[in-house]
């Protein structure tokens, strides 16, 4: 059954000791949508991502991908194989490896870049061609995020903002259909933010669905067409950006007036 729903999260809950980090959260994301999750620190946003990508297993509830695949209980790499990629709030790069290699590693699991053991042992033309294609695509994506000039640097030598862009490029080479970005704009300077907004816009044009976690409301209004607000592990509200901005409960949660 394909009603255009990419991901439907139904009633998921997770407990850490006594703390209910997620409490019966239900969210749906439809094809072509950029969904934004907002909420105060500790609201459970990252935890939600961890549940979707298999780093945590929800205590109850289900997460169904494309109306058919149950994601809960699967390993991160299996989930990645379904075309889901996420970035990490505190960055997860291969720090001592060159920028180019970081992106290339992202593409290793793609069928079009694979080769047999014989190819690998004697470096057949097939091997060379596939390696070259992978390198080329990595170069293209680095150009796309504006890092073309830094491909031989080590990832650890990049600035914070550049690292976030690199993580995005590494994600794109996996050819994701669903991209989860955990606070991609945090710590970026205004130019980098513009670059990011532009990149996300173009990602959307390639019909990749995006869920992102963000604090900056201006940034959110620029790119999101649906917003979900989490607070203390519960869904507080959801709606169009303009409605959320006016929502009283949301304003209170952010200002802490209760």
């Amino acid at each position: 059954m394909d009603d255009g729903t990419i991901l439907s999260i139904t009633d998921i809950s997770i407990m850490f000791g006594g703390l209910k980090a997620l409490d019966r959260v239900t969210i749906g994301i439809r094809k072509g949508e950029v969904l934004c999750i907002i909420g105060p620190n500790g609201a459970g946003k990252t935890t939600l991502f961890n549940c979707i990508t298999g780093f945590l297993r929800p205590t109850s509830g289900s997460i169904v991908y494309r109306g058919a695949v149950e994601l809960t209980g699967r390993k991160p790499h299996e989930i990645a194989a379904h075309g889901i990629y996420r970035s990490f709030q505190n960055l997860a790069l291969f720090t001592n490896v060159s920028v180019e290699d970081n992106v290339m590693i992202g593409g290793l699991r793609r069928k079009e870049f694979s080769y047999s053991i014989t190819d690998m042992l004697i470096h057949t033309p097939v091997f060379r061609a596939r390696e070259a294609a992978l390198r080329q695509e990595a170069a293209d994506l680095l150009a796309f995020v504006g890092l073309a000039g830094k491909k031989d640097r080590k990832a650890g030598e990049l600035s914070y903002g550049e690292r976030k862009l690199l993580e995005l490029a590494r994600g794109l080479i996996t050819r994701p259909q669903l991209l989860l970005l955990d606070e991609p704009a945090a710590g970026l300077n205004p130019t980098e933010k513009t670059e990011l907004v532009r990149a996300i816009g173009r990602i959307r044009e390639q019909s990749i669905n995006v869920i992102l976690i963000e604090h900056d409301m201006r940034f959110v209004s620029d790119i999101a067409n649906w917003i979900v607000v989490l607070d203390y592990g519960k869904k507080l509200a959801e709606g169009l950006p303009d409605d959320i901005k006016k929502n009283k409960a949301v304003i209170e949660a952010y200002l802490g007036t209760r």
Binding site: K75, H77, R86, L93, F94, T95, V97, I105
Partner: protein
């Protein structure tokens, strides 16, 4: 300009540790050795201060590494070493030939262990068990059942891989240092089994009359021809390892070592990759074990003690974790150096232990540095 250190700092950084060393060494070592230990400590501290003060200029690339950087230089170096290795057996007397063969064995082991320690950053403290399993498999198959060398060789490698699965499947899920300890336990269990399963392994007396490898036209290999056989295996192993590094599979390892979460998120099954590396590493150990048994013509549990595992580990660390040339250099150094230091037999292990500690202190990436 650095200011002149105060009397107080001089005392606490130099005098106190030296006097303390003398004081605690005295009851164990007696007066003259305790004095020597104190002087040694003093020298060590001076070197340490000098080096730490000058650091920052030099890191992370070592001198040696910088020179080997360009790929042409690397190729020339490889060709030179290869030529030297091929010529060596013709020029060496029988004693040196033995040492050389020993170098080759340890290269095989160190390169095998490096797959885990260097490439994945997983500490295996029972690696010698796979060497032992290979050696015993060959000894039992060949000496008891008369199975030919080449079949037993494959069996030895396979046996080591299979046993490695027994330990890898459950323990690879554990945190790093638990893995280290579990492999240590595994290594000990294997040795205890060799020691006690009399009907199969003949216990502490070991298995004798293990045959040499046999080749058509040449017959049984011994002396120089045997060394060439081992050399062929080393070359083959290096070739395979270099190829692995250059391909997808090698990059999986790099990714996992660098960041496991991120690897999973780009679709790498980290657990499977680690398991395969573990098996491959054990396989090389097993093959080396078969060759070892066929050289000695005898196997006994004494060859497979914990300290041997540490020895191989030290080779990996000395040369440079993850760096194939470095690991080979490490194996060469740690086999040849003790031969040159024959007069210091008593102090051999002491020097060796100090080497481990100082390497971790000054150059954890090894002589040739780590290759990303």
């Amino acid at each position: 300009m650095t200011s002149v250190p105060s009397i107080r700092t001089l005392f606490t950084t130099y005098v106190l540790p030296a006097v303390w060393t003398a004081a605690i060494a005295f009851p164990i070592m007696g007066f003259s050795r305790a004095t020597a230990a104190a002087l040694f400590m003093l020298a060590g501290i001076i070197v340490f201060t000098v080096i730490t003060r000058r650091r920052g200029l030099r890191r992370p690339h070592g001198l040696l590494r910088a020179r080997l950087e360009s790929s042409r230089a690397v190729r020339h170096a490889w060709v030179f070493v290869l030529a030297a290795a091929i010529a060596a057996p013709l020029l060496l007397n029988s004693y040196s030939l033995d040492v050389f063969t020993s170098v080759l064995f340890y290269m095989m082991l160190a390169l095998g262990l490096n797959l885990l320690v260097g490439d994945l950053g997983l500490l295996n403290l029972g690696y010698i068990a796979f060497y032992g399993i290979g050696a015993y498999t060959y000894a039992i198959l060949a000496a008891r059942f008369g199975i030919s060398f080449w079949i037993a060789l494959a069996a030895g490698g396979a046996a080591a891989s299979v046993f490695s699965l027994i330990i890898a499947i459950p323990t690879l899920r554990l945190r790093g240092d638990y893995l280290a300890i579990a492999t240590l336990g595994f290594g000990e269990i294997v040795r205890i089994v060799f020691n006690n399963w009399d009907s199969l392994t003949n216990g502490p007396n070991g298995i004798m009359n293990v045959p040499r490898p046999w080749l058509p036209w040449i017959g049984f290999l011994s002396g120089m021809s045997f060394t060439y056989l081992v050399l062929c295996f080393v070359i083959l192993q290096v070739y395979v390892l270099v190829r692995i590094k250059q391909c997808r599979f090698g990059r999986y390892a790099v990714a996992i070592r660098e960041n496991e979460r991120a690897s999973a998120m780009v679709g790498i099954n980290t657990y499977a990759v680690k398991t395969v590396y573990f098996m491959l590493s054990a396989f090389f150990g097993g093959v080396a074990g078969v060759l070892f048994a066929s050289k000695q013509m005898f196997v006994s549990p004494d060859s497979f003690t914990f300290i041997e595992s540490v020895y191989v580990l030290a080779m990996v660390i000395l040369g440079g974790m993850g760096n194939i040339a470095g690991v080979m250099l490490g194996a060469f150094t740690l086999v040849v150096l003790p031969e040159l230091l024959r007069g210091f037999v008593v102090y051999r292990m002491l020097i060796f232990a100090l080497l481990l500690i100082t390497m971790m202190l000054f150059r954890p990436e090894g002589l040739l540095g780590k290759k990303a």
